[in-house]
Amino acid sequence: MKLVTAVIQPHRLEDVKNALQGAGIRGLTVSEASGYGRQKGHTEVYRGAEYVVDLVPKLRLEVLVADEDAETVTDVIVRTASTGSIGDGKVWTVPVEDVVRVRTGEHGTDAV
């Protein structure tokens, strides 16, 4: 099993979610995140005082899938989250030792 994690622009969520559902991926966890990469931050001005806001709001997506689906998920997210501009985010995949479905106690791929 794999855990695919993606950090994306918040306004891309709907498209990514729909595309993942279209690709038959049944589960998705979304959390609000903030951070910076090469994009760095932006400037905000309050009553003339400038603030550099270096932590930019993002969404973190987490998808648990069977090994063979990991590449599909990655491809779908990369394709649908992309706007072509700096700050579009990243997608990475890590192996997962075990997964348990809380309701049934199933283990492994059955629990995904």
Partner: protein
């Protein structure tokens, strides 16, 4: 402010209309203080919003009680040398519970209306000392300051025997008494208490701009009571004042936003809210003495001047956290002085300023009134501020300031750390 015993241009005998309007206006002005709590509360960081709002709310508690005990007689009671009223003559308002049938409105309506001015004036000061003030010290300050500074100044400017009133200065609804007074007191306290930790380095941007806009809306709404109610009658003066109050405020919002657009490249919501308040402050003394077009000019000037003035603290190095100086002191001075230029005898106050052929006389009187109030308030507030600082301390310990005064002082936090429901179990029913 017209005297309570002045004859209105409509009613000569005790008027239900006047009384109804002034009781309503009093409620409008009282709403400004919670409105101010939102305006200020949105501008501080999330860890101090409750304390910021409480500094306004507690002003209603402390000043409201003092007002009925010795506040009203000290401001409007039996004159003592043109300086203040006698607080012991009419202590507790026992003498105000009946009204002569020939008065233009009931005595208690006037007492109610003036109470709300005293309350918000103290609350305005709190914006200068956000995030770092001991609550108990603030409570003590409100009671001492209202007694030693506000009541005498209100007497000078608004009581028939007051020396500034007799000078012929025009301050219809409180440019000197409320805004210059609170603005310079804010500067004094910001100097006494000192800068916040990390000021100028750490980000201290407003945590909730919708609160700020909500507060600005409530202030604007209440301000119609503040200004139009100051006619102390439901009459033509009140109606002219109402329109002037709207016109200047609209123009000031535009003035502030244009300034921002040119200087910073963007028109901001905080700028719109701030422009509204700057316009309201500036028209306050002038609303009975200028024409509607004069009000637009006055508002535009105030919007631009205040938008530039809020940058002063960064250059001069004082932490007037929420720009009480830039908005209330500078806005109050702008409105009070512009009366000397823009007043027209066609308006209810019946005085011509420089631009209407009245010469420099009124401008001189306005300046004398403005700087007399400014000087008195500055000196007295510094004395009160240092006295509190030296006796019980005015400032919270550094670690409290870092974690946020809400939790340390009030035992509450405005927002949960995680937006997922409870952060702790209920331990006591």
């Amino acid at each position: 402010m017209v005297q309570a015993d002045a004859t209105s241009d409509i009613a000569a005998a005790l008027s239900a209309g006047n009384t109804a309007w002034i009781l309503t206006a009093s409620a409008l002005v009282l709403l400004m203080t919670p409105g101010l709590a939102f305006f200020y509360g949105g501008m501080v960081r999330g860890k101090t919003v409750l304390n910021m709002m409480m500094m306004s709310f507690i002003s209603m508690g402390v000043v409201g009680v003092i007002w009925v005990l010795w506040g009203f007689p000290m401001a409007f009671g039996t004159d003592v040398g043109g300086f203040m009223g006698n607080p012991f003559d009419g202590f507790g308002l026992g003498n105000m519970m009946t009204t002569d049938g020939s008065a233009p409105l009931t005595n208690m309506a006037f007492v109610a209306f003036q109470a709300t001015f005293a309350i918000i004036t103290v609350a305005l000061i709190s914006g200068a000392i956000a995030d770092r003030t001991k609550f108990g010290a603030w409570v003590a300050f409100t009671g001492i300051w209202i007694t030693l500074v506000y009541f005498p100044v209100a007497h000078w400017v608004w009581a028939a025997e007051g020396w500034i009133y007799r000078l012929g200065a025009i301050d219809f609804a409180g440019g000197t008494v409320v805004h210059i007074n609170a603005g310079i007191a804010g500067l004094a306290l910001a100097l006494v208490i000192g800068k916040r930790k990390g000021w100028g380095k750490d980000p201290m941007r407003p945590h909730n701009l919708p609160f700020v806009m909500l507060g600005a809306g409530l202030l604007w709404f209440g301000w119609f009571g503040f200004n139009a109610g100051s006619a102390l009658a439901a009459d033509n003066t009140a109606s002219v004042v109402w329109v002037n109050t709207m016109a200047a405020t609209c123009a000031a919002m535009l003035g502030w936003l244009i300034t921002e657009k040119i200087r910073d490249g963007k028109a901001t919501s905080l700028g719109a809210a701030s422009g509204v308040v700057a316009g309201l402050v500036a028209i306050t003394p002038a609303c009975s003495s200028v024409s509607p077009v004069g009000a637009v000019v006055l508002g535009l000037v105030a919007g631009v001047v205040c938008a530039l003035a809020v940058g002063l603290k960064w250059k001069l190095g004082f932490d007037d956290s929420l720009d009480v100086v830039g908005v209330h002191l500078v806005g109050g001075l702008t409105g009070t002085l512009l009366i000397g230029l823009l007043a027209t005898s066609a308006a209810p106050a019946g005085v011509d300023g420089l631009f209407y052929g009245g010469g420099l006389r009124q401008l001189g009187i306005q300046a004398a009134a403005a700087f007399a109030v400014l000087g008195y308030s500055l000196v007295l507030t510094l004395i009160i501020g240092f006295a509190i600082r030296l006796t019980r301390g005015f400032r919270v310990p550094d670690e409290v300031e870092s974690t946020g005064v809400d939790l340390a002082i009030h035992g509450e936090t405005a927002y949960e750390a995680l937006g997922t429901g409870r952060v702790a179990q209920e331990v006591k029913a």
